[in-house]
Each structure stands twice: as structure tokens, then as C-alpha cells.
């Protein structure tokens, strides 16, 4: 008999209860009443709306708000790249915070004399991801005016007039309710639309280059090793996580730009360590010579000048994670890996988006006051590589354009005298399967191959492996250009670097008589001849003279051919 009665009520409940209430607040964690599905709920209160709303004698705040204002001053989000001006939380945001800042008891409602009692003695929202605290500096900003002016100032925000769908502003202000609908939780986290593929973020955030970015398109998955890169989502691919690969809208690890991890590089390396991305950049950075991003913290800023003022390197100095892709290019054009980054052009002027790879390198290695020095002590000293590679120079490796020398018989096909090369043809991670780019190398100066510079080095292919990649060893040792190459390199054991300055000689310091063929002597090895003369003189094709003293031999002068 009793079981039949129970069955009857169950039928009634499922007929009228579940169907009627499905997909409403009743089935969400925001049903804090005794019938709520969550663990945080009232002991006996049956009303659902009461935790936020009352039909009479509400707080002055609409809609018929039933809770007191927190009355606290919040720490607000700030960043060097924010154009908006978040105020203290207002409008719907302060309503949300009247539970979610953790300062007011969940059961503290205006329409009840005493606080509504919660199970387990819970009063205020327990610590956790839903308790934002009064420090909102690690949360997406709210309570800022989002108008066309802001959109155009930022340059990567949708015009608010396009927000006609699920994402809504409140009196022109962005509030919690732009992203969250407290009454409906079909998308998880009470989001107004799903954030799979960052669908929600992209309603407002329209990042330049994003549509072709690998971080938008990649189907890579996490192999389960190390740190979970997607700890705050349920998505399992890069493309699904999209913005959330790096950013966390609430309780972010770094308050600036709401990054998932600190320090900066960990946002990249959590995936680019062999656990998600194909190539392992972390292992390159662990090599003895690297662009050591771990050595700097908090110096890089997206708004920093194009010409870097304080020495540092972070992944984001060379890569734009919103733009990066695997589109290939030919020298000197920048490829997809460094698309959408700022740089300094051949004239030394800032460019907001590089066209050529070298424009990126020039940010630090050209006019920067904190640039690295030259490793070799030379007759002509120059550490500004932009001046060294200038195509008006007497000689230079062809980075910005075709080289100065029309006769280079050693060049290995398809290279020719008209070829242009990348900085990264010499400076890159070593190893045949290493990821492209100058991340790290076992060789000094992040060279891709071995390049001996010490005096009396025994010649071998490996000793000058770097040079021999382009300059055919047989041609060099057969004296096809300089007739004394073999004598110098093999017999007397003089490294290439002693006579040649591989970047180039600035026209402001050198000339076409003394400094063709990258001649700029290492003066720790090459001494002046008697009378103090230290000079190479170009006497035309494959001909010249030297005045110097080296390896105890006087050239005063010695001529070739």
C-alpha cells in the first residue's frame, strides 16, 4: 500500500516536476533551497527565488534584489594593455558579488529576519573557484563602459553594436551577466553560450590573425604527462580550448592578462614541452646556449618599445600566440611562426608588424641600449647587427638583401651570389630534428652548427661545420677564391673567424678597400705589422694584400694570388 502511494507521488513528480522545471534554475546549483541539487543548500527553506529576489521591500538595486550590498572596496583588474576603465563593481556585478565575494552569508536575505540556515553550517561561500574574494585583479574586468570608442581604442574588440545575441551589456557596461546567466546552466559555469572553441570570448575579443592561428586550429591533445594545461576546462584539444589554452577568466595565476600560469613562459611551455605540441621547445631552452626565457621575470610587457630598453627575452617577444601558424616563407620574409609581432626595420624605425625576419632580431640586437656585446675583439668594433647587415656596407652576409660580392665560387647550389638568407640559417637550435628558430643550442651564440673560433684549431668538416653548410669545403680548401685559404686554415690552423667578421662591416666604419669579403681581423690574434700597419687591401677579383703579423709571420705586405 505504502509503496503504491510512493509510486503515485513519483509519477506526479516526474510528470509535473521534472518536465516543467527542466532547463531552469531549479535544476542548477543556484537553486539554494532545500530542493537544490548542489552541496551548498538550505536546511529547510523551500523558496528558490528568495536567495536573490523579493517581491516587496527589496534593496534599491534591481531586479528586486534581496541581499545587502557587500559594502567593501574591491581590488580591480589592471593591465598595461587594457583600454577600458573598470569601476568598483556595480549594476548586476555587485549583485553576484553579494554571494561570490565571500563576505556575505548566502542565507543573509532582506526578506528574512534571520539568516536562512545552510547545511553543514555553511554561511559565506566556501573557498574555491566560485569564491572570487574581494581581490578582482585576477578576474576578467567588469563594470566598465564598453562603447565604440573603447572598441576602436583597443583595436581588437568587437563594436558593441554587434552584441545583439546572447552576450548583452547592461546600460552599455560589461557586467558579470554578459557572460553568465545565473538562472540557466545548460552551457556549464552558467555561461550564456558554450565556450567550446572560445565561442563566448570571441563575441567581444577579435584578435588580429586569430583565425589562422595554430592555437585556434590545432587538434593536438595532451599526452597526460606533467601539468594539465587545461586544468580549468573540460576540453581536450587545443582548438577547443582556444583562448583558454593560455587565459583563465577567473582566479587567474597572473593578474596581468589573466594567464593560466606564472611565470610568463610556463603558459607556453606547459604545451610546448613535448606533452601537447609536436616540438619540444623546453628541451631546447635547457641547452647551454639559449634565449633563456626562464632568466627573466616581469620585465617583458606587450606595450614595451619596439627597441628593447631592458635586456630580457620571453616567448612573447618573438611569437604572437594569437597569430602563430606554420605558414612557410622565403628569406627575408617572416614566416608564420613569427607573424604579427613588432620589430625594427632596416632603417631603425619601429614597425608594428614585421615583414622580414631580421626586423624581429633587430629589436634586441641592433639599436637596443642593452644589447649583447660582440664576442670577438676586432679591428672594427660593432655590436649593432642592423649596421653590420646594411646593404650599403662594403661586405655583409645577405640578410636584408643580396650580397655585395658577385664572385663567391664556394656557394653550394641552390645558393648563389643573389641569394638572401635568414639570421636563423646560422643562429638556431642545433640538431637535425630540432624545432626551427634560435631557441637553444649546444654551440655558443645559439649557432645551429659547430663554429670553432680558437686559434690553432685543427681544420675538419666539423670544426667549421657552420660555414661549410653554405660554403663548400672543397672549394674553400682548393683555394678557388682566396688562393691561400688552405694554407691559412689547414696548415697554419687559423679559424675562419680570425679574418672574417661574419655579420658584416658597417659602412660608417669600414670601406670597400679594406673591408670587402667580411675582412675585419680578430685583433686578439692578428697583430699590426712593423710600423703599426694592420690592413687588408682589396686588389680586385680574387686578389689582395695584407699588412699584419700573425702566428709570428710578418705580412708586410703579402699578396695573392
Amino acid at each position: 500500500m505504502k509503496s503504491k502511494i510512493h509510486l503515485f507521488f513519483l509519477v506526479i513528480f516526474f510528470t509535473y516536476g521534472i518536465n516543467f522545471y527542466s532547463q531552469t534554475i531549479v535544476s542548477t546549483r543556484h537553486n539554494l533551497s532545500v530542493s537544490g541539487p548542489g552541496t551548498i543548500k538550505a536546511v529547510s527553506e523551500t523558496e528558490i527565488c528568495i536567495f536573490c529576489h523579493t517581491p516587496h521591500n527589496s534593496s534599491p538595486r534591481s531586479p528586486l534584489w534581496n541581499k545587502p550590498d557587500p559594502g567593501v572596496t574591491y581590488t580591480l583588474y589592471s593591465s598595461s594593455t587594457i583600454q577600458g576603465n573598470p569601476g568598483q563593481p556595480d549594476r548586476s556585478s555587485i549583485l553576484c558579488l553579494s554571494c561570490h565575494d565571500g563576505t556575505i552569508a548566502l542565507g543573509n536575505v532582506l526578506s528574512r529576519t534571520n539568516d536562512i540556515v545552510f547545511v553543514s553550517g555553511i554561511t559565506t561561500l566556501p573557498p574555491g573557484t566560485t569564491n572570487l574574494s574581494t581581490d578582482l585583479s585576477d578576474d576578467h574586468p567588469v563594470s566598465f563602459l564598453y562603447n565604440s570608442t573603447l572598441a576602436s581604442q583597443d583595436g581588437e574588440l568587437a563594436d558593441p553594436s554587434t552584441l545583439t545575441g546572447p552576450v548583452k551589456l547592461e546600460d552599455g557596461y560589461l557586467e558579470c551577466t554578459a557572460c553568465h546567466d545565473p538562472h540557466l546552466n545548460v552551457n556549464g559555469d552558467f555561461l550564456v553560450v558554450t565556450n567550446q572553441y572560445s565561442n563566448l570570448c570571441l563575441y567581444c575579443h577579435q584578435k588580429n590573425f586569430w583565425n589562422n592561428s595554430a592555437h585556434k586550429t590545432s587538434n593536438a591533445t595532451w599526452n597526460g604527462s606533467g601539468t594539465n594545461p587545461w586544468f580549468h576546462t573540460n576540453y581536450t584539444t587545443v582548438t577547443e580550448n582556444a583562448c583558454e589554452n593560455c587565459h583563465n577568466p577567473h582566479t587567474a595565476s597572473s593578474q596581468f592578462r589573466l594567464m593560466n600560469f606564472t611565470p610568463e613562459e610556463n603558459n607556453c611551455l606547459v604545451c610546448h614541452n613535448g606533452n601537447v605540441a609536436n616540438k619540444n621547445i623546453q628541451s631546447e631552452l635547457n641547452k647551454p646556449y639559449s634565449h633563456n626565457v626562464a632568466a627573466y621575470n616581469g620585465i617583458h610587457d606587450p606595450e614595451e618599445p619596439n627597441i628593447v630598453q631592458i635586456k630580457h627575452v620571453e616567448c612573447a617577444d618573438c611569437h604572437n600566440p594569437h597569430a602563430v601558424n606554420d605558414v612557410t616563407a622565403n628569406p627575408p620574409d617572416a614566416n608564420g611562426f613569427i607573424q604579427g609581432v613588432k620589430g625594427v626595420n632596416a632603417d631603425g624605425n619601429p614597425v608594428s608588424e614585421i615583414q622580414y625576419q631580421y626586423e624581429l632580431c633587430y629589436r634586441c640586437h641592433a639599436d637596443s641600449p642593452d644589447k649583447p656585446g660582440s664576442p670577438t675583439t676586432r679591428q672594427i668594433e660593432q655590436s649593432n647587427v642592423r649596421l653590420e647587415f646594411d646593404i650599403g656596407n662594403p661586405s655583409y652576409h645577405p640578410i636584408e638583401g643580396q650580397g655585395a660580392n658577385p664572385n663567391v665560387p664556394s656557394l653550394i647550389s641552390p645558393l648563389s651570389e643573389s641569394s638572401v638568407i635568414y639570421c636563423t640559417d646560422c643562429h638556431a637550435s642545433n640538431g637535425s630534428n630540432a624545432p626551427a628558430g634560435p631557441h637553444g643550442s649546444i654551440y655558443p651564440h645559439i649557432l645551429k652548427y659547430n663554429y670553432e673560433t680558437a686559434d690553432y684549431t685543427q681544420e675538419s668538416y666539423l670544426a667549421y661545420e657552420l660555414c661549410y653548410q653554405c660554403h663548400d669545403r672543397n672549394s674553400i680548401l682548393n683555394n678557388e677564391s682566396f688562393s691561400k685559404h688552405k694554407k691559412h686554415i689547414v696548415n697554419i690552423r687559423t679559424p675562419c673567424n680570425v679574418c672574417h667578421d661574419p655579420h658584416g662591416i658597417s659602412s660608417s666604419q669600414g670601406n670597400t678597400t679594406n673591408n670587402t669579403h667580411l675582412i675585419n681581423f680578430d685583433i686578439s690574434i692578428v697583430q699590426p705589422a712593423m710600423m703599426g700597419r694592420l690592413e687588408f687591401i682589396d686588389d680586385g677579383t680574387f686578389a689582395g694584400r695584407c699588412y699584419l703579423r700573425c702566428h709570428r709571420r710578418q705580412h708586410n705586405p703579402k699578396r695573392y694570388p
Binding site: M1, F8, E47, I48, N57, L64, H183
Partner: protein
């Protein structure tokens, strides 16, 4: 026997039929009040032959009507057009706004008894659920979080429009039945599980 009783109770609950209750003994029963010399209940609000107040609205209204100008509810998320209280709401407010004495009935204008405490709504309605607005399918569509009153059950026997609206308008009497306090606060039905709120609000 138990089975039959339970069945009857369930049917009643779901059809909205309520047990016969009257105003007698409720907070609206002023028959024992010292200022009500007649000892009658209905007379505070109604009289068979109304004669004393100008332009008295129905139903046979026997109480002085408020002339206050009210501060109305507003919200950025409110789609309805809310007017100054009219219809039945204005009758309720003729005591509950506190400007008219409860004992200003039957022609009296010198009353001294005023509503107080939770029952006092005042003339500031900005913190009260809006009333005197047209609630129809157009509003429901514009809001997106309201049921269509024409084809949504009220739980009182018919549709919202039939049972809870007055000339298509939401009024105090949509939620409150001044003659029946079976459910506390004179509610037209229980608000356990916020069932009254969720009759209209599709949240």
C-alpha cells in the same frame, strides 16, 4: 481509505482547487477593531450602496482611494511598461501606501489608523514587484524569461491570463487574494519551491 484521501488531496493540489476559506479571522478581518463600530468585515472595503467617494471604482468600493503619485519600479532588464497603479492595485494601495487611513471608509475622511510594518508598501514602489502593466505574449517574447500568459497554466485552474491577470494586466491581486489567507501573505497559491514566482517567470 487513506488512499482515497491522498488521491483527493493530490487532485486538489494539481487542479488548484482550494478548500473553502474566508476572510474571517484573517489580517483583513477588522470586525473586532475598536475603530470599526459596525463590527462588520466587508464594510471596510465594500458596501452595497456606495455613495460617499467620488468616482468610486468597482467592486462597490467603500474606502477612500489614494491620490498619491507613486515612484515606480524600473530596471535595465524590465521590458514591461509600468504605469501609475490602476485597477485593483490602486484599491490595495488605498490602505497599503500609508497615505489613507484604514478607517477612511463609508464616507469618513478623518481616520487615524494606518498600515504599518511589513504590510506598509508606501508610495515608493521602486523596491516592489511592478504592477499595472500589460502582460501578454509580446512582453513574454521581448523579455525572454516569461511564459506566455495566454497558454500557460496558472496552477489555479486555467491560464495565467484567465486566473491571474485583470484586463490583461498584472495587479496586486495576481499574487494576492485579499479574501483568503489560507496560504500565508494572502498568496493565491503556495510559494514553496517558488512555485508562485515560477508561474510566470521562466528562469
Amino acid at each position: 481509505m487513506l488512499r482515497s484521501i491522498l488521491y483527493f488531496a493530490v487532485v486538489l493540489a494539481f487542479t488548484g482547487v482550494v478548500f473553502g476559506q474566508s476572510i474571517t479571522g484573517s489580517a483583513h478581518d477588522f470586525s473586532d477593531s475598536t475603530w470599526n463600530s459596525s463590527g462588520e468585515i466587508c464594510v471596510i472595503c465594500h458596501a452595497p450602496h456606495v455613495q460617499d467617494y467620488t468616482n468610486p471604482p468597482e467592486p462597490l468600493w467603500n474606502h477612500q482611494v489614494t491620490t498619491a503619485t507613486f515612484t515606480l519600479y524600473s530596471s535595465s532588464t524590465l521590458n514591461a511598461t509600468v504605469s501609475q497603479p490602476d485597477g485593483y492595485s490602486k484599491l490595495c494601495l488605498s490602505c497599503h501606501d500609508g497615505t489613507v487611513a484604514i478607517d477612511n471608509f463609508g464616507g469618513n475622511t478623518a481616520g487615524t489608523e494606518h498600515v504599518s510594518g511589513d504590510a506598509l508598501i508606501g508610495t515608493d514602489l521602486s523596491n516592489d514587484h511592478p504592477v499595472s502593466f500589460t502582460y501578454d505574449a509580446t512582453l513574454a517574447t521581448a523579455d525572454g524569461g516569461l511564459f506566455d500568459p495566454a497558454n500557460t497554466n496558472s496552477g489555479l485552474g486555467g491560464t495565467i491570463d484567465e486566473d491571474m491577470l485583470f484586463g490583461g494586466k498584472l495587479q496586486c491581486a495576481s499574487c494576492h487574494n485579499p479574501h483568503d489567507d489560507t496560504v500565508a501573505k494572502f498568496l493565491v497559491k503556495s510559494n514553496a519551491t517558488s512555485a508562485l514566482c515560477l508561474t510566470c517567470h521562466n528562469k
